[in-house]
């Protein structure tokens, strides 16, 4: 059976929703929201089908698709034609991220029920964003990757700038400029690779770079890797490139933050793993210590700052920084445990932060605040929401049995093998994570209620869907990590092969 249509359909299926929405009257709020939600389903279904396909033991390469797309000619004598292909594919790693994206997108579409105005525009942009995200994770060459990467920027800019909170425009600009710079650096890297090798196909590049006779000097490669680190460091974000992300987390509407924190930040990690580590393994090794240090700084910096925030969104924002530090730590370990931990962390944090931000949205919807102090004692009025919040926090602080632990554990397991002292410093982060999360979550849910929470409705109806699905997935990964680790084996082997391990 020819399955090459699957990925194209998967990636572009949200466009269907955009088209339908374009022809809907903009006043029909319910219908628009429903259509917006429905439009995310085909991608979800296909993503799950692809996962099932994998589970059935079939090859993921069945999905690969490639077409000629753009040719640049006449660059130089020896490589006269520079071709860019339209090529999509799936590896185990990509599959996981695609499933994650599809799931979070669908749930975020549900969370978008809190949108108060101009639903039509909101969902059109939202679906465009989903196209971008799905494309990013399925693209098989760097230029295509870059294109999808940039496609995510514009809808996000508008979603933040139009539907966000008080300082939305500032946040949107901050987002745009930082990410613009990041992608600019990325583009330079891609173009240099393209110009030097004549291809941007990732697998091909990996092979070319592994060849000692590659047309790039070691210094250039190192420079390119550092640039990649900066480019994806903005996205991840790595200290000190993080300040945009705080604004976005605080100002963007909940469903966008779910996407943003859940998926968009992960593009940075994905890029670092797939391109940074995949294409420049030897140089990555040179930088491993630096990356580990950056990771520990991220971890601690985020954790300490999260400890003194008064707005729960800020706590989560800094917590994201902290958690991305774990990704870096895992990567810097350069061994299977570390890398697998990093990838786990990518998926796990995606789910956890989506859950937490959804709950923030729920709370904000009802109380108009996300300040910890103002929310104190909300467990009295909304016990279920508070319970899930606590569960989310527990997952986030790495409670065993939930996904956060597995990833944190493996990342540290990896790093302890290579750089035990640094890892030991990093473990302070584990304590701090518990400290700041409990401070924040208990501050909101426990204690004496500062005001009457009577009349506030607890979680209800469709709101349960995201919460329960996400929690279930978090627990599933925590209890049975093989759901993630088995598709990853092939990816890991490839990477380890590149690392010479």
């Amino acid at each position: 059976m020819n399955l090459s249509w699957v990925l194209t359909t998967l990636v572009f299926s949200p466009l269907l929703g955009i088209v339908v929405l374009a022809f809907m009257p903009k006043t029909q709020e319910k219908a628009i929201k429903f259509v917006g939600f429905l439009a995310t389903l085909p991608a979800l279904a296909l993503a799950l089908a692809a996962y099932a396909h994998y589970l059935a033991g079939k090859k993921l390469s069945d999905f690969t698709i490639g077409h000629e797309w753009i040719q640049f000619r006449g660059m130089s004598g020896d490589a006269p034609i520079f071709s860019v292909y339209y090529e999509l594919g799936l590896s185990g790693f990509q599959l996981l991220l695609v499933v994650l994206t599809a799931v979070v997108a669908t749930l975020a579409a549900i969370a978008a029920r809190y949108v108060k105005k101009e639903w039509k525009g909101y969902f059109m942009l939202f679906l465009l964003l989903e196209v971008g995200m799905l494309g990013v994770f399925t693209a098989e060459n760097l230029i295509l990757f870059f294109i999808f990467f940039e496609i995510t920027l514009i809808p996000t800019f508008f979603l933040i700038g139009k539907w966000g909170y008080f300082e939305k425009e500032k946040a949107a600009y901050s987002f745009l400029i930082y990410n613009g710079l990041g992608s600019a650096v990325l583009l330079i890297v891609i173009m240099i690779l393209f110009a030097k090798t004549g291809t941007t196909n990732i697998d091909l590049l990996t092979k070319i770079m592994a060849d000692p006779s590659a047309p790039l000097s070691g210094d250039l490669k190192l420079g390119l890797l550092i640039s990649l680190l900066i480019a994806f460091g903005v996205k991840l974000p790595i200290f000190p490139l993080h300040s945009w992300m705080l604004k976005v987390h605080v100002q963007a509407p909940p469903s966008v933050v779910m996407i943003h924190s859940g998926i968009l930040l992960k593009i940075g990690a994905y890029g670092l793993i797939r391109f940074g580590m995949g294409i420049f393994p030897a140089q990555f090794e040179t930088l491993a210590t630096l990356i580990a240090i950056l990771g520990v700084i991220n971890l601690l910096y985020g954790a300490f700052l999260a400890f003194i925030q008064s707005d729960f969104k800020m706590v989560l924002a800094y917590s994201s920084i902290s958690h991305m530090g774990i990704v870096l730590i895992g990567l810097a370990a350069m061994n299977e445990a570390g890398i697998q931990g990093a990838i786990f962390q990518v998926v796990s944090h995606g789910l956890i932060s989506a859950l937490l931000f959804f709950l923030v949205g729920v709370l904000y919807e009802r109380t108009d605040t996300s300040l910890i102090e103002n929310l104190g004692g909300i467990a009295k009025g909304m016990p279920i929401a508070a319970g899930f919040l606590l569960a989310g926090a527990m997952a986030s602080l790495g409670l065993p049995g939930m996904s956060g632990f597995v990833s944190e554990f493996m990342a540290f397991l990896g790093l302890f093998k290579e750089l035990p002292w640094l890892a030991a410093v990093g473990t302070i982060g584990i304590i701090m994570t518990a400290a700041y999360l409990l401070r924040a979550v208990l501050g909101m849910t426990f204690g004496k209620a500062h005001r009457e929470f009577i009349g506030f409705v607890d979680l209800k109806g469709v709101e349960f869907v995201p919460v329960v699905v996400l929690t279930a997935l978090i627990v599933l990964i925590g209890v049975y990590p093989s759901v993630l680790s088995s598709p990853l084996q092939a990816t890991l082997e490839t990477i380890m092969l590149g690392l010479g391990g």
Binding site: E150, F194, K196
Partner: protein
């Protein structure tokens, strides 16, 4: 030269020029004999028809061999065809804009003149594309410039228009004098005005002092012609002129005139200086040796254009700076001097044609509605006219160079060139950094359009605040958006046409 000889020349290669020339004559006469009160718009439509006819004939010539008559004073090569298409396309869109332009401030009396002056400027641009002779090139340049001066000032009752024309003519005069001064030395060192002959002579250049003088004339020509491109440091006229000129003229200046500028720059610099030896035959050509100067100018242009654009509150001024910035990007392609340069410049100009024309169409509509050209006038456009807003959004995104649009592919193309062969890391970095800076002002307009509320409907506008889009504008917008998106997603439509039919590299030097 006998009449037979004269007849034996292959005049058919000048068909597009003849079409335009004939229509100019017809329009002059029609304008003269038409009753005063009659609407001159019909002249505009005739002009559009002529341009389209010329385009068809240019298309028909694609794929042929290099043809030239009268010692290359007119030559038709792939380069000429490729860029003539752009110029004609731009001209047609400008005429569409012009037919929809609400003539005021003195223009209403001269709409007829407006059309054929525009056509004669267009003719000048066409001449510039297809000539291999300094004299013809110079005449073409002036044939483009002088009607442009007039067009900029044609709203003679409006002070901004007068001022704009005045500034344009003074700066234009100075710059063409400088360029001509440089050309005079080139002539002096070779005794010929034929570019290929010059090239042949100069490749034998032995004398150091001659090479030195040639280097100086290179700089003079570059700076003098840089005026047309609005490249730094000859860019400063652009904002004032763009702001003061009637919107269709601004569009013409920013698209057609700039395209023509690049045509002549590439034609002269590449042919003359691409082969001029610096140190005896076989040594490195002056052009390559001067790459750093080119790079400095390109970088300065990009930086100034983008950075100063941040401060603008007038949309036309902002677009003037934006067009300066785009000239900078194009200069990057020129600087790289790979053979891909032709294609990347051409494609970028194509993309630029669509996106800028469309943007000016929107500007024209909005500024006619509000009577001013402030960026703040765009506030709430999304509410008032979603389609117009989305159109503008797409065009701005293309200008900013985001994927999915032609602007992105254009930039990509330039980038590949910048790294292929001798890599230009610094220049490319400046380009990309300034591109990011440009997000600020492009998205600033978007902020107005999409985020800001419309100003309180004054004087009971109500339904009146809807925009009614004239046919010409609609055509331009559709073409612009379709072009921007189509060539953003399927750039190979254009690239393949180029590669399959027009072998510029081969043609250029033969």
């Amino acid at each position: 030269m006998s009449f037979d000889q004269f007849q034996s020349l292959n005049w058919s290669i000048m068909t597009p020029e003849f079409i335009i020339l004939a229509v100019i004559a017809i329009l002059v006469i029609m304008d003269l004999f038409m009753p005063k009160h009659m609407d001159r718009k019909i002249l505009g439509w005739i002009g559009i028809a002529a341009i389209l006819a010329a385009m068809v004939s240019v298309f028909g010539m694609a794929g042929g061999h290099v043809e030239s008559i009268l010692h290359d004073t007119f030559r038709l090569d792939s380069f000429a065809i490729a860029f003539k298409l752009l110029i004609l396309g731009g001209g047609a869109l400008v005429l569409f804009l012009a037919t929809s332009y609400k003539a005021t401030d003195g223009l209403e009396r001269y709409t007829g003149e407006f059309y054929y002056l525009l056509l004669s400027a267009l003719l000048g641009a066409m001449v510039m594309t297809s000539s291999g002779d300094l004299i013809t090139l110079y005449i073409g340049l002036e044939l483009l410039s002088i009607p442009s001066y007039i067009l900029a000032g044609i709203q003679k009752d409006r002070l901004n228009s007068n001022e704009s024309a005045m500034k344009y003519v003074i700066n234009g005069g100075i710059s063409s004098a400088i360029a001509l001064f440089g050309m005079s030395y080139v002539y002096g060192l070779t005794g010929s005005t034929n570019l290929l002959e010059i090239a042949g002579q100069l490749s034998m250049l032995m004398d150091g002092q001659q090479a030195y003088l040639l280097g100086l004339s290179f700089l003079m020509i570059l700076v003098g012609l840089g005026f047309k491109l609005a490249a730094a440091p000859f860019h400063m006229w652009a904002p004032d002129v763009y702001q003061g000129a009637p919107t269709p003229v601004t569009a013409f200046l920013s698209v057609v005139s700039k395209t023509a500028g690049f045509v002549i720059v590439v034609r002269i610099l590449l042919t003359v200086f691409g082969s001029a030896a610096t140190n005896g035959p076989g040594s490195i050509p002056i052009l390559l040796d001067m790459q750093n100067y080119l790079a400095v100018i390109a970088a300065a242009t990009m930086i100034i254009g983008n950075v100063v654009a941040l401060r603008q509150s007038d949309i036309k001024r902002m677009f003037a700076y934006s067009s300066i910035a785009h000239a900078g990007y194009l200069l990057v392609a020129v600087t790289t001097l790979t053979s891909n340069m032709f294609y990347s410049i051409w494609f970028y100009l194509l993309a630029y044609l669509f996106m800028n024309m469309g943007a000016f169409a929107v500007i024209q509509v909005v500024s006619e509605k509000t009577g001013s050209t402030k960026i703040a006038d765009f506030a709430g456009l999304y509410r008032r006219s979603p389609w117009l807003a989305v159109t503008m959004g797409i065009l701005l995104i293309s200008l900013a160079g985001f994927p999915g649009t032609a602007g992105f592919i254009g930039k990509l193309n330039i980038f590949v060139g910048a790294f292929a062969g001798q890599p230009h890391y610094v220049l490319a970095s400046v380009m990309i950094a300034t591109t990011v800076v440009s997000y600020f002002y492009y998205f600033g307009v978007m902020t107005q359009i999409f985020f800001r509320p419309a100003p309180a409907a004054s004087e009971g506008e109500g339904e009146g605040s809807k925009f009614n889009l004239p046919f010409g504008i609609v055509v331009v917008l559709i073409v612009a958006v379709v072009g921007s998106v189509l060539f953003g997603i399927m750039p190979n439509i254009a690239l393949d046409f180029m590669h399959n039919n027009l072998d510029i590299v081969q043609d250029f030097f033969s």
